[in-house]
Every structure is written in C-alpha cells, then in structure tokens.
Amino acid sequence: MGTITLRNVRKAFGDAIIIPGADLEIGHGEFVVFVGPSGCGKSTLLRLIAGLEDLTAGEIFIDGQNVSDVPPSKRGLSMVFQSYALYPHMSVRNNIAFGLKMAGMPKDEIEAKVMKAAATLNLTEYLDRKPRQLSGGQRQRVAIGRAIVRQPKGFLFDEPLSNLDAALRVNMRVEIMQLHQDLGATMIYVTHDQVEAMTMADRIVVLNRGVIEQVGSPLELYHRPDSVFVAGFIGSPRMNLMTGVVAAKHKAQTIGVRPEHMAIIPSGGDVDGTILLTEHLGSDSFLHVDGGEAGRLTVRASGDFAGKPGDKVSLKFEPDRIHKFDGSGRAVR
C-alpha cells in the first residue's frame, strides 16, 4: 500500500508563510508531480511529507496512519535528492545497502537485494567504486538504487534530473517512468519543468506561492485550466493570454488561446497582426506575431509555412478553445 493524505498542511518559517494550507489525496501506485515556479513551495511540501521539515499545523497520513510527528526514518518513504546526496565515503554497494543495514537485514539478504537493484539500474560493474568516480547519470542511478532496495511505501523525487544534461534527462525520465510501471509504487515527483510534469504524471499538482492552484491529469490541466496561472504555466510554448478590448469582446477580463488553436487566414480573423519572427522546427513552425492591442502572440503553423517576418496575417481563434478568466484570474465557464 502507499496512500498519502495531506490535511490542511501549513508551513511557516517565522513570519514567512510558505504553505498556507494544503489538502491532497494521493492514491496507491499513483505518479503525482508537484510543479510550479521556483520558490512556490513544492520542495517544502515534499520535505514535509518526508518528515525533513516539521509541520506548523495540519496532519499527514501514510496508509491511513497519522505520521505528523513521526521522524523521517520511521515513515517508510524513500527520497531521491537533486544533489543525489550519496555518501561520499562509501562504495556504490554500501550506498545502496545502507538503508537495509539500518533496518538490520541479514547480510546475504542485503547482498541479494543490492545485486538485484544494481542489475535493474545497470550498475553492477560499478559496485566497488566511490561516488566521485561516477558520472552524473550514474550517480543519479545509485541514488535511485538506494531508494528502490528498501521497497518503501512511496518514493519522493526532489528535482532529480535538474543536474543532468538535456539528453541524459530525457533518458532518465523514461527510466523513472519504466520503474514506476514495474514497481507499481506511489511516487511523488517535484519539478519546475512543466514538460517533465506533462510527460510523466498520472496527476499534476500545480503550486503557486504555496497554494495548490489545481490538481488534475495532464490533459485536464491542459484543456481546462482553472486559473490564469495554470493556463500560462502548463503547455509549451505558453498559452497566449490577452486582456483589454480583445478579452472584453468575449466578456472576460483575460482570455487565453493556445498557439495550436489559432488559424492563420487571409483576413477577417479575431486579431490582425504582423509576423515578427518565425521558428522552424521541421514538423511545426512557431510564428511570433505582433497582434497590436492583443500583444505579442505565438501561433503554431505547419512545418512548411512560408510566411516571413513583416508579412501581415489575420488570426482566427477556435471558438470552443477560448479560455476565459475573470478579474481574480479564475476560469469562467
């Protein structure tokens, strides 16, 4: 089992309130991603679940048991840190075995488990090396190995891939998703990268200034953002957000239209503008358009789109893909 429940979880450092009050239910085997800009409290929330930070108020339950005052060593969770946090004076073997030794497991059993974890993560030939003799990707694997051998109730990942280069990051992302499928364990994953969130998560928790803005599947957040913040944060390139006259036409304070939900037509669209830049990705082209009162807009066009900077275009929004928001930034539906 591995259900995690947060009830009115609050965290403040002195006068600074980091998390004013969070409620969340995480089911067994779920892959939940906490995402938000830096300083939004996502890491703090994870550390509260881990027990590395004390709660200011509220309760945390793991498998229905109140663990609010239980030290991290007794919560039965594993954590993978951004800096890997390997024990520098121990070999890879001992790094992976440390948790099992702490649990007082017999030696031969530890050895068998370490070998199995090492085989899963392609670390077998590095078992006798020290962490400093490993590359970044290998270190990250050791950190993951250390987490999986203990067969915890849940895994906590704190931006585990942000120290890796782009190519390795994509590989490790797939490996972690594969691991989740194989183990079927509950995983909470913190990242500031919304692409990681979109590709990996069963459910995404979007945080902004310590407040949970929205919880939902990647596509729910993508298609039905509850707020301007979520609308602007999820999706790449970003959703076009427009205020003023353009929004007023749709009886809203702010409207949002994604780049792929605008059509380029010769004239008579919702917004007329001038192409400033074109980015050709092969499969698609992204146009940066000066939309006058609508501001600067990003539009997706086909890969062989022939427009050049300076060309006049008219943009037609898909009517049922226009997201409307009121003055407080909440969605109007």
């Binding site: 881990a50 027990g51 991290p72 060593s73 840190f81 024990y87 440390f98 702490m102 250390r146 203990r150």
Partner: protein
Amino acid sequence: MARAVSPRRRMIFTVLAWSIAFVIFFPVLWTVLTSFKTEGEAIHLPPKFIFFDWTLENYAVVQERSNYLKFAMNSVFLALGSTFFALVIAIPAAWAMAFAPGKYTKDILMWMLSTKMMPPVGALIPLYLIFRDLGLLDTRGGIIAVLMLLNLPIIIWMLYTYFKEIPGEILEASRMDGASVGKELLYVLAPMAVPGIASTVLLNIILAWNEAFWTLSLTTKDAAPLTQFIASYSSPEGLFWAKLSAASTMAIAPILVLGWFAQKQLVRGLTFGAVK
C-alpha cells in the same frame, strides 16, 4: 584558469619564495646552531655560522640542571588535556551552529572571536586572583581549563567552517534511509568529519604547546610546561645563550616533528572552506 609562466619568471619567484622562507626560518636555525656552540662562541663577534667546534655539552648541562622530562610531560598533558576538553565542548557547539543555526548564531560566532582580540594581560589580575582563591595556581587542571577556554573560539570556528562544508542533504538522506540520530552520527557524520576534526586537533595541540603567557604567569613548578623550562634559562645570573638555545631546541623539537608530519593535514584544515 592556467596562466602561462615563463621559466625566468618561475625561477625568480622560486628564489624569492625560498629566500622569504629562509628569513622566516632563520631564528629557529640560529637557535639550533647556537645550542651546539660553547658559550664563548655563542656570543663571538662576528658570529660563526657553521665553522665552530660542535659540542653537545650544553644539552648535557641542561639535562643535568633541570628535569626536561617533567616539563615535557606537563606540556604533553596540558596540550592533550586542553584539546580533549575543548573538543568535547566544540563539536556539539559547531554541529548545532552548522546544522541548526538560530537567529543569533552569526553574532555568537563573532562574539566568540572577539574575545581573541582582547589583550590577555587584561584578564591576568582577575584570573590570577580567582586561581589563587580556588587553589588552582600551578595545577594541571587549572592550566588545562585556561588553555581550553583560550583556544575554544578558534576550534569552534574551524569545526564550524568544516561542518558547513558537509552537505545537509547527505545527512537527510541517511535519515530517509532509516538511520537514527546515533547511527547518522556514527556512520555518516563522523567518517566525513574526521579529516576536519584531525586538523583541528593538530592545530590546537600546537597552539597549546606554544602558549607562553598564561603558562608562565600561572605555573611555577608542579604544572610548569616547557615554556617555563626555557624561561628558567634566561636567568638573572646573566644570559647563557648556548644553554638557552639548547633548552629552546629541546622544547620545540617535539612540536616541530609533529608539525612536519602533519603539515598536509594542517594546511588542508586551515584553508578548508576558502574555495567552494
């Protein structure tokens, strides 16, 4: 970043560095040389550098006149004792400051360091009176307490900067791995901190060994360390340069040897934290 240094420049700097080192080392060298001279040659003008009649007579006289071993044992006692008790206090203090800093941690650290800026003679009279009234004058326990307090700020500072370098996440990782506080200390903290503690210990032993002001002021006989041993040769009967030099050489030899073998450890300890 590597900078190209021409062979000529390198040579000039090498010569310069050796010259400066020689100038700094010269008094020690002169003391050692003088200890092998007769009293007459020791004050001979112009001074004789190495061409004189080498003799061990001074060492024999010094050994005969005073009990070197007793002073040396006191020095060892005071240096090790004060270091041990300082560590007992400084390790938990530095841990607390490094890993659970409070609002005033920085201020406390600065305040501790500021005590080193006061001239010790300012505290001499009150401390002397306290020692007299408590019967601590010329006792090993009393001097150990003074030396311990004297070097405590430096020890806490050194350990603090050292502990600061240990990433907190590693300790947290061990907690997540199920380690209790005791096991975290034993298996994760201690092995990582050993080099830092070792260099702190070495430095403190050297500082305590060389401390002269308090040991000269508060001891006479029973607890007198090697500083008293040297001082006893600058006597009112007139200066005996050769014998004084022999006594000095005997006093500094043990710590010089220790320092020589530990220099790598010492340099590492003192420059730790200088470069992130």
